[in-house]
Assembly symmetry: C2
Homo-oligomer: 363 residues x 2
């Protein structure tokens, strides 16, 4: 498949909203014992549940290393396709292709440079070369041509689009030291607009408190549809999240999208703070160069990290009283989609959630 030197905007391709129709979904099987406790077995069980759930609604492909291939094939439902691909970890949202489409029903992939959320500045593991090849390999699998963006570091979880010209990010992440320090905010915005085919960037100041991705927007705020967003929220003024949600709310309240619309903002209450237990910490291998998982560390738990698929929402829940609130809010906002709650603490322990471990292939 071709490596293209043009941009999606030049060629009339755009990234559609996640709520638009999908042709499928990708995930990567978790494995590394220095990030996933107990040899990744508890995480694998939850990843399997996510894949089996999504696979009921849209064609699911699970990317798996050579070593874990047979095990994953055995554990996953028959309707999940298993394909072999070397990887450094299991965050396909971030290292995978961002697919773009045009009006003729053609699909292409954007292959951003991936550096494990900050490279040698504050990246989360080393090396990350296998992950940086995942987007190319996904494009090959799908037989689609590819825009390789060699001079720009980006993870798919750091953007959300409305499919109508608006992209939403956080300054905390996009302006971080470890990604594109050579570019100005304006230049970064131009790159986004060129490769996603957008006209307007919404710059939310910060993401979720203590999020190791430097505050990915996909844990903080998501589009319901053009002109309407869901924002992670807390009323607890003593929670460091309060200030972050408040400043995002104020920013978004005073902004318009690419079409000039004021945004409707829905507040989604976060669960009570979730801390890593001693047992959970002890199940993770200690390795130089990988972010440690220490007892008492606060996890970046947020219901906003849901996946919007064909006729359903896969929603992380935490056995928290706010689980029900999140489900109800989504039922109201997505009356045509079934809400599929999945107990996701094991994903959260690895540093993200359902949206971070999925990547849609639009139709």
């Amino acid at each position: 498949m071709k490596k293209l030197d043009t941009t999606p905007k030049q060629d009339g391709f755009r990234m559609p909203g996640e709520f638009e129709k999908h042709a499928g979904c990708y995930m990567i099987w978790p494995e590394r014992p220095d990030n996933w406790r107990l040899g990744a077995k508890p995480a694998q069980a939850v990843f399997a549940e996510v894949a089996n759930t999504i696979g009921k609604y849209e064609p699911m492909t699970m990317i798996v290393s050579k070593a874990q291939y047979s095990n994953a094939r055995e554990v996953l439902n028959d309707y999940v396709r298993v394909v072999e691909m070397a990887n450094d970890d299991s965050w396909v949202r971030d290292c995978g292709a961002t697919f773009v489409i045009n009006d003729k029903g053609e699909t292409r992939g954007v292959d951003w440079t991936f550096n494990a959320w900050g490279g040698l500045v504050d990246g989360l593991y080393f090396p990350w070369d296998s992950d940086d090849k995942i987007a190319m390999k996904m494009c090959e699998l799908e037989r689609v041509d590819r825009y390789r963006v060699d001079d720009f570091v980006l993870e798919g979880g750091s953007i959300h689009v409305d499919g109508e010209g608006t992209v939403m990010v956080t300054e905390e992440c996009l302006l971080s030291e470890g990604r594109n320090p050579q570019l100005s905010k304006e230049e970064i915005g131009q790159k986004l607009c060129e490769y996603l085919n957008c006209e307007k960037v919404l710059w939310i100041p910060r993401g979720i408190y203590n999020d190791e991705t430097n505050g990915h927007v996909d844990n903080m705020c998501n589009f319901v549809k053009p002109g309407e967003v869901i924002l992670a929220w807390t009323d607890d003024e003593n929670d460091p999240q309060y200030e972050r949600s408040m400043e995002a709310y104020e920013y978004l309240s005073n902004e318009t999208d690419a079409k000039g619309r004021k945004l409707v903002i829905h507040k989604m209450y976060t669960p009570a703070p979730i801390l890593i237990t001693k047992e959970e910490s002890e199940g993770v291998d200690s390795v130089d160069g990988t972010l440690p998982r220490e007892e008492g560390d606060r996890l970046a738990a947020s219901y906003v990290n849901f996946y919007t698929g064909n006729g359903f929402i896969a929603l992380p829940v935490f056995n928290d009283p706010n689980d029900e609130k999140a489900i109800k809010l989504l039922e109201e906002l997505f009356p045509d989609r079934k809400i599929e709650p999945i107990y996701a603490r094991e994903i959260l322990l690895g540093g993200g959630n359902i949206h971070c471990i999925t990547q849609q292939l639009p139709l």
Copy 2:
């Protein structure tokens, strides 16, 4: 995708003739330096030529290890799809899936047990576990269900079918010590008929002289169409091949196919004996457990090892006077297909030829 416990015959699936319409073709990128000289670079150039040629006519997928992925992607034409898959060597005809189809346009895969052409008796390398998983992984890629044949060793190069109930094999290979010594000839015939959906087995006594596969039929004899075969031939009575071709001719002359037809037999003259040179031998790593490539060894060169694809034939040639004869014969027998000759000495040095390194996906 499902692992099935039934058989293709039970389910109404059959292996079509190679000359029937294809949906695509698979190959595996050569790599191991204990089989391919000079780090497999000369072989890779020829494999690329084969893939680029076939890719002009039908969708081509190249299976490549993690280590060689980037190199293969760079070397191959854009229209060749590159997918990652661990492998032990590059003979997808033998370790890959044998695809079967039904009248509704559905496809499934037969996943024979693979033991590197003879396992611990006279297999050609050890281990072979990655190769034995290739068929399963091809079925996953294509999203097709799979018949795993756990109790029967077979390579795809040891069979040819006419798509109308006849399968052609050699006794030399199918009855060899290293494959299914626990089964009688009759039981082996039954297995073939069950999994290929055939009624008649043609048992050619032996294959090409000094063929390390124990005489695969695909180097010796091929179907032009039902009722018509091409047989490797020599008039030189001093060539040990003479006796082999003669006995095959006599056998086939006295047999009928599943439909009761007498066979039309076309003789295809082999090239003059081709021996491994000192330079070629020295380019191969010496490794315990892998068949050595020694100076002066005779290679099992045969034009019969061609690949029949959509509108073309990919034909191995050897810079031999008989090249032209082979091309002419195929032009006569396949008037609607373009004959694509490819200089294939480097493939031959590895132990096979174009048919051995390709596997069609029928439509």
